[in-house]
Subunit: 189 residues, 2 copies
DNA sequence: CCTCATTATCGTCATTTGTCTACGTTTTTT
DNA sequence: AAAAAACGTAGACAAATGACGATAATGAGG
């Protein structure tokens, strides 16, 4: 829980009191996952988000030709989930699978909504997180429509250097929307 | 203002009272723009969002090779702005230019924050809008990393058929991350 | 109605990226 | 330790897309 506390403090305008944080922490459930275990499978409705305390995961989907496409990569201090399924209660199109053994903190929809209502500092955090996510999405879109494979990789490596150590190249390639072969070629220069 | 009222009602759980809407409307300023006029230019800090009552716009940026890339297309009932600059007070990297004469309703950052604090129904609307935007971004990313030019166009045409009538092909091509030539070719089949 | 800018298309050629198969290495599992 | 799976690289070829110049069609503005 320490790591959640430190993480939240980086988002809000004033440090979170012990009392507030106790309340927040009480709405999360710790869980452990082994390597290659699924947090979510296609077709399920996901009613929680997971904060990653330790470990790494990826979110991907399988297209109509049977190919996997990595949508997100997650490590410590990231949130794993599917907002569409979470918000609209629809079956997810995604898989979320661990790439390493993981320790996570899970919060259900009910608890999240309750915290947002009853704990202003948590609500502030959620707003900031949304903002950050929205800005990051915009940048990823801009990069994907205007840059070559090489440029996208360089952007990625500059923005998320830790990820290069944590995920095999073919997953990063998939995340960038290119094949592992192309990435391998492009890196040789 | 009628159109803003109707639009907001589509997002919130209970219809917005006359009184609430009067308060909301009081925080917006109507404006008109001619064709090819700029709402935002690169380097400016934007401290407002614009709700489009009538007309069409595009947001784009110019890369280091001098090429334009369309990031967003907007028509009636869309919001034009740059969330990064708006939230972080940083100079924008984007241009927002009208493609048709426009009527818009402008809300400043201060007014938006005030409304969120003082008008619960407006706050609810903002949360829903964020959600919708987040889901749409995710889908656009998924499409851009996993689909061919043709598939991306088909997705786009299916999701936003009105846009095909409102924007010239080369802008749609740019939005999809392909050249106008490729789109023209791809459509011939 | 005329003019000029905008837009769409076409052909050719270059470049990028994908596909497939193979191979060697490393890592994981048994 | 042995076997199996996962991973990165390589080469040859195919397919998709970009770049460029030319031209025709369209539409807006005077």
């Amino acid at each position: 829980m320490k790591s959640l506390h430190a993480y939240l403090n980086r988002y809000v305008s004033a440090l979170i009191s012990e009392k507030d944080f106790e309340m927040i922490a009480g709405h999360f459930t710790p869980m452990e996952l082994k390597k290659k275990q699924y947090l979510l499978k296609e077709g399920q409705v996901i009613d929680f988000f997971a904060f990653i305390v330790k470990g790494a995961m990826r979110k991907y989907y399988i297209d109509d030709k049977g190919k996997e496409h990595v949508i997100n990569l997650y490590i410590e201090n990231w949130w794993a989930g599917d907002r569409e399924s979470f918000a609209l209660l629809t079956p997810s199109r995604y898989y979320i699978e661990t790439c390493e053994p993981c320790e996570i903190l899970v919060i259900t929809r009910e608890n999240k909504e309750k915290l947002c209502r009853e704990c202003p500092v948590f609500n502030e955090f959620i707003l900031k997180l949304d903002e950050k996510y929205s800005v990051a999405s915009q940048k990823r879109i801009a990069s994907s429509i205007s840059s070559s494979a090489r440029e996208r990789y360089d952007d990625f490596a500059a923005r998320y250097p830790e990820f290069l150590q944590r995920f095999p190249q073919h997953l990063i390639a998939s995340y960038l929307g290119i094949t592992k072969d192309t990435l391998s070629r492009v890196l040789k220069q």
